[in-house]
Symmetry: none
Subunit: 368 residues, 4 copies
């Protein structure tokens, strides 16, 4: 009985929706015409006085049940949309969205294919570049494990101005030297828009760190060069904010962007951050970009790196990033959470034996 | 010429606006009808599947000039507004809602008027009842400051089963004895629905603690007796959940409920919890119940009790709860955040001198 | 050079630690002697006046670098420990801790072994019991998939007092009937301590829900009966609070407790809660209890159930709980996140094909 | 007899207490020395591996009567206190810390004294600069209310690259023109380190926004010019991170920094952010910098601006920032939370009548 009632009411609703749809589009056409006339007269499209007047008329004529403020909010959305329509309607569909591009973005870095369903990439290396020897020792181990991407921080964003800030350009040079010797691609964080141009000479992937996820000037700069970018999720960024940050890069012409989940800030302090594992399938659904998991910063605990990596692979991540240091106990940063070379080898062996890594018959994670 | 054209187009626009206004309100009425049918069936008002379907229909039927994503955004706003309208209906229906009862709920406890605009109440006392002497010493100080409500925990919900769990019924008897001797009303937490009936013989206000804010059986039991209830906000309860918890009590017939903000759990660890100070005016707007601030548990720091109490009074709280112990350093619980008697006297003196407490000319906090 | 300095300073520190250790234990022996003398005299062990005096002496004699308040805090810990020593030192090591019992707690429910390394258990069933037919239809599907545990809510803790509260005892009877017919064990939530005794006649596993994780009276009641308990993590409970809640149950004599991660409350609203996936290996490390993942409530999204289940299995969970309903769109609760029968079959098939479920050669998740 | 025995045992206890006191302080001195060596090496003070080792040694050497877990708990407290002592040393060392400079930092902007106890400053203006007329209209109202600081955004950091990004340098020019005409100082956000130098020609206070609180290159650039800086707390920054961000600026030579609480990101969505009101007294205690409250972004609700401002003043804020727009309904950003001119006048009038603003006899918020 109730269901019958609901069905009837829904039919009425559908009719109203249709009428609304027609009216809103009809309205948009008129606004476009006004815009064209205005353009010929050199008049500004945005006319706040006229807008105010229309909102006042709503106030006068409204008889409910909606409150006037609610209706004004809805009309404001219609006005705004109309204004945007006059500018560039096509930008509305985000370039990074899977609706716009159903197939995965797949690209190649140093012979490693990133983003292809069924293939996963591991990125390993020290938190910070400390010396040539330190980086070379890790590079050797990374190479031996068959990996092709080495990470290392040259510019280190640190909470305190008195903490070790990285070796800067000197660090980039060390990375470049080691990368050439071991035939590895290197990934390193850049923190100043002014450094992006220079950095492309030294590194293969630009990392944008969590603290800079909404440093929009940096995003724009990274979008203007021809290098892949690994973009980390902000400390407490929503998934929508994360996707929009990627859009800043892609909208400038650089579409080789890797999204990297690295844990979010919550009340729970047993881990450094809370690894938001389901962000991986959500990001894979909503965008066509490759999605990685940084197991080091999300957990902040050496004993959780392997379990977190397995979970990441099982849920469909395209890659894992992990920090490795020849002697973590004396590392200049993040000593509690980096693997030493032995631990790294054990880590990779367990990953390879887990059945979760580069399975030939791997099907992409399906959804119901 | 152009102006004539524009004027004509604007007239058309105004007509469309009028039609849109009518249709959107007509639509809202139908949604309200659906909501009412759903309510009788106990169905959830928000139906994402149905919403998806409507959005898909827009996609099918749209012929521009708006992009489908733009239209879907506008319709989402209309859907959201409709949902809020239903929630608004629902909130209007809640017994605790100010839309249902515009005037404040005001009641008397031991000669103290609770909830009257311009009057504030202080509740003070030890975290836990430890002995007759301890409670009596605090009661003496509380009385001397002119206060009329004494708090003290007899049943202590503790994280570990091996921590001091309170003196139980023995503690209630001590409270009753001291209350009688000093002519104070007592407030104490009850944790088991089965104890509510018994407790009313000993205490004047039943406290329901943060951990039990969604212990619905306890709420129902507290709603079935004729005693005021002080309900604390849950550790991470939303304001809506808090209001609904109060509704559980009032819906059973007990309308003397005090809401008590006591801080929420966030990532910030400089304070024990984060005092959500703007919850006070929100709760005052949305309900007609008195709203208190527990400065002890929200901050967990002795040095913040006075500033937090001032902020609470300034923002419109009807009362403040604070913990006092003859010798906090040896207290069996919460030793870091209770005031000793001297500190309590200084605290009350500063409050009385602040111009924020029981001002005769106090106007209720106004909103714009 | 600096490392040499540090090594020397650390040696000194180790010596002081040794001396402190001896002194603190020597002190404890004297306190025990005092306790024995007091006992023969019927004197109260806790003497706040004496304690105050000792704290005052620290204040007088302290010459830094510690502030007096810090030292008093440390001594307070020593005093408290001494007091507890007199009571029952042995309770201090939590019964649930893996340090106390290195091997897994393993037990049997209806022929299903819970908690054995390499074996995983699936629990499926509707959010709420609505009718015999509804439960029976799900039970049939659950049985067909080879599972042995059926879930279903009879007492539903709901935010609003006006939402569907479950069928209560009637619901338990339906569950019992269906369980008998399909030879399944049933798990159902109990919310009132007074109902625990009665419930054991109908159900095989008592569920304690997230909102009741710190309803200590309910935990105590569940600890006093001879039924396995599935304890869900609170909405914003820390892992330590979760472990202590389990200890409440085990300390009363019931050691068949399953811990269930069900997501925590964070700022991110793309999912209903944020699945704290690394809590699984942490709980496995810190306790010997089986750990499950509730994929339904942690994600609140049908499209994430399968990915989340895979991640849970990969990271070492002992079991997965998932909600199934014959027609989710019309379910009285949680309609957006329950699987229908077809989806459930597909879900189980993908799990079985994933290589993550009941692998014969499965080794327990190792840590580095 | 028993009393004699007890007295003797207590004497022994007192001696042990004395020895413990000495040892614990001696230990603290060594830890401080280690801390100083580590600092010169840029090593992290907290070393969990070393801590584990010390705890293990206790386990090996303990012969009772305390359980090892109890002793480990006591030692953990000693470790923690030692770490805090080092942090305390560190905090003392920060240039912004009140331990280093006990008196308030007080400076003058356009005749307005910022940071003096008993004086509060209001900053008002539109979210974004849209046109000369819009800014001038607000400036006129701001001037009429006797205020001296005008805010307005020229560079707008927006979540989406397609949202209105501000008028840029054109906006700064409008601000400068209006400021000159109305004799107001202007405050505006700068987002690119490269723009800082240029900006000082147009504006009087550089704002660094919440999203850029840890954009360390921007902080360094702002620290290198001779202009006051208003630094907003990050979306989910801890108070310690906030203080360290300010230290970045001050350490470069610019000590005119205003800290601005603007709400933190939590699970609660009734407000745009959660105003962390007790951060104000904490920041006042820990630093000597002026502390403001941005009531617009912390609440995101027009109806909460006045209550939040009152709470801010009552708890000791040195100033309040609020957004004002001639016609919020047509604003290009933040339309739901800006005041119109009438509302702004009413807001200021209520503030002036509240007794909380620029009281001549105002004493600084005291702590107990």
């Amino acid at each position: 009985m109730a269901n019958v009632q609901i069905e009837e009411l829904r039919k009425k609703l559908d009719e109203i929706n249709d009428n609304l749809l027609d009216l809103i589009n009809e309205r948009a056409e008129i606004v476009q015409q006004i815009g064209r006339v205005k353009k010929t007269q050199g008049m500004n499209r945005f006319d706040p006085v006229r807008e105010r007047k229309m909102l006042d008329m709503i106030s006068e004529k409204n008889e409910g049940p909606f409150e006037t403020s609610t209706l004004q909010h809805i009309f404001k959305e219609i006005f705004k949309a109309s204004l945007e329509l006059q500018e560039d309607d096509h930008r509305k569909a985000l370039l990074v969205s899977r609706k716009r591009q159903p197939e995965n973005t797949v690209f190649d870095i140093n012979g490693e294919t990133i983003g292809r369903s069924g293939t996963q990439t591991f990125i390993a290396g020290p938190c910070a570049v400390e010396s040539y020897e330190q980086v070379a020792e890790v590079a050797k181990a990374v190479k031996k494990q068959g990996l092709k991407l080495l990470r290392g921080g040259a510019f280190k964003p640190r909470t305190s101005p008195y903490d070790f800030q990285g070796l800067g350009e000197e660090g980039l040079k060390i990375l470049k030297k080691v990368a050439d010797e071991y035939d590895l691609a290197v990934i390193s964080e850049i923190v100043n828009p002014a450094d992006i141009e220079k950095a492309v000479d030294y590194i293969d992937v630009i990392q944008i760190g969590a603290r800079n996820m909404q440093n929009f000037e940096l995003l724009k700069a990274a979008g203007s060069v021809d290098k892949p970018v690994l973009l980390k999720r902000g400390l407490s960024a929503t998934i929508q904010e994360f996707i929009n940050a990627a859009e800043y890069i892609v909208s400038r012409g650089n579409n080789r962007v890797i999204l990297c989940e690295r844990g979010i800030r919550t009340y729970e302090k047993a881990t450094r951050n809370t690894l938001d594992i389901t962000s991986v399938p959500i990001l894979k659904q909503e965008t066509h970009l490759p999605v990685f998991v940084d197991v080091t910063h999300s957990t902040g605990r050496r004993d959780l790196l392997l379990p977190a990596a397995k979970a990441g692979l099982a849920i469909g991540a395209d890659g894992i990033m992990v920090e490795v240091h020849p002697d973590p106990a004396v590392a200049l940063s993040d000593s509690a959470q980096q693997l030493d070379i032995n631990q790294f080898n054990k880590f990779m062996d367990e990953i390879k034996n887990s059945g979760l890594y580069n399975k030939t018959d791997k099907t992409s994670p399906s959804t119901i």
